[in-house]
């Protein structure tokens, strides 16, 4: 279990994991006042959708659905002061579920073993995937916690800017997916990082 978490943590800097980290961070930043709810929602959506895909229950979402879901999910986050409570969590979970479709995981020794048996491993497979994902997303979670620990006055002053920045990043992810450019961006990241 520790090895699985560590492998996830190790791959968190790889381009294969940035596909998850960038939207995850954007969701939390865009939902600044509810970043804990948004972060948890994103992780739950990501976990559920990844498991359904890796267990062979569903296939990869079409790009149109993925991009549209991310785009629509960004709206309640950047307008959260006027939106109903709980909508942010739902939107974040939707964004997480859509993001799972963009994920082509690095398959190291530990995660490879988990994936090999995921079709038949049931709840155990879900738990192992959760542990791996926590490793992958640990830097994002730590960043959100660090952001929340900043002085309140600075956060109040920067709230609009943070929300807009997060929304723009989500918008870029969505549009890149809709235009088919997302794969080229990831390829470029791979090429430049020489992984």
């Amino acid at each position: 279990m520790v090895a699985l978490f560590a492998e996830g943590l190790t791959t968190s800097a790889f381009p294969c994991s940035l596909v998850l980290a960038v939207p995850g961070m954007a969701v939390a930043v865009a939902s600044r006042r509810s970043s804990a709810v948004a972060g948890a929602g994103f992780l739950i959506g990501l976990l559920a959708s990844s498991w359904l895909r890796f267990a062979g229950i569903i296939g990869v979402w079409p790009s149109l659905l993925t991009g549209t879901t991310v785009l629509l999910a960004a709206i309640p986050m950047i307008r959260q002061e006027t939106g109903p409570a709980g909508l942010v969590g739902l939107a974040s979970a939707s964004a997480g579920a859509a993001t799972a479709s963009l994920w082509r995981p690095c398959v190291g020794v530990e995660f490879g073993q988990v994936l090999t048996h995921m079709e038949t491993s049931g709840l155990r497979g879900v738990a192992e995937l959760a542990i791996y994902l926590l490793g992958v997303m640990a830097p994002v979670i730590a960043s959100i916690a660090a952001l929340n620990a900043l002085p309140g006055r600075w956060l109040e002053r920067s709230e609009s800017a943070l929300r807009i920045a997060g929304g723009i990043v989500l918008g870029i992810v969505a549009i890149a997916t809709l235009m088919g450019a997302h794969e080229r961006i990831i390829d470029e990241l791979f090429r430049r990082s020489s992984f």
Partner: protein, 207 residues
């Protein structure tokens, strides 16, 4: 309660729950580490003390055909037809894939140890990105990485999809026995000792 505390509490609960599920459900019959006799072999292959299987490896059924390929590299013929009846390692890979290239030294070791006994290897190159489709680039990468076995070009990933269904990953490594049945199936890196033990068992005992 501050957001930081909520995040920390949620994480702690999540980790505890996941740990509990893994612990409670790891009974000996379904445990990943105890699933087959093959797992009893050490994790790393050794050139001096080769791993041995004491029971026949699981049979996953007949291997599909390799169809509609976009050509071959490092062979003049349809190598898949040529190796029919031989113990064969077949791996879906792509040259920019970090995890795929990590497996190659292990495949080289196993090939060196068992080639004379009749082991064959086929790499099915299924590109992840557009730039990996160029056969010149694939050949150059093969030479750089020390891939000496035949490479099937699955440029449009038809076989990558048909073999793996909805669970498609790089790398994915199979062992095919003399009857054309799959006897080893592994996603990702690792389990090299089990891979070699499966090959050795099939070469020694037949399918």
């Amino acid at each position: 309660m501050s957001s930081t505390r909520i995040v920390a509490a949620a994480l702690a609960a999540f980790l505890t729950g996941a740990w509990a599920v893994v612990q409670l459900r790891s009974d000996p019959e379904t445990s990943l580490t105890d699933a087959t006799a093959a797992d009893a072999v050490p994790d790393q292959p050794s050139t001096t003390n080769r791993p041995v299987l004491t029971a026949a490896p699981e049979n996953f059924g007949p291997v599909p055909e390799l169809t509609d390929l976009d050509g071959w590299l490092q062979t003049d013929e349809d190598a898949f037809a040529d190796v029919r009846g031989d113990v064969t390692i077949l791996q879906f890979w792509t040259y920019s894939c970090y995890n795929c290239t990590n497996t190659i030294p292990h495949l080289q070791d196993i090939y060196a140890a068992h080639r004379d006994e009749g082991l064959e290897i086929i790499g099915v190159h299924a590109p992840e990105f557009e730039r990996e489709k160029d056969p010149v680039g694939i050949q150059a990468a093969a030479e750089r990485l020390g891939v000496t076995w035949p490479i099937a070009l699955d440029t449009e990933k038809r076989n990558f999809r048909s073999w793996q269904g909805s669970r498609r990953f790089w790398p994915r490594t199979y062992v095919i026995d003399q009857n054309g049945d799959i006897r080893f199936d592994k996603i990702g890196e690792g389990k090299y000792a089990e891979l070699e033990a499966t090959v050795a068992y099939l070469l020694e005992n037949g399918a």
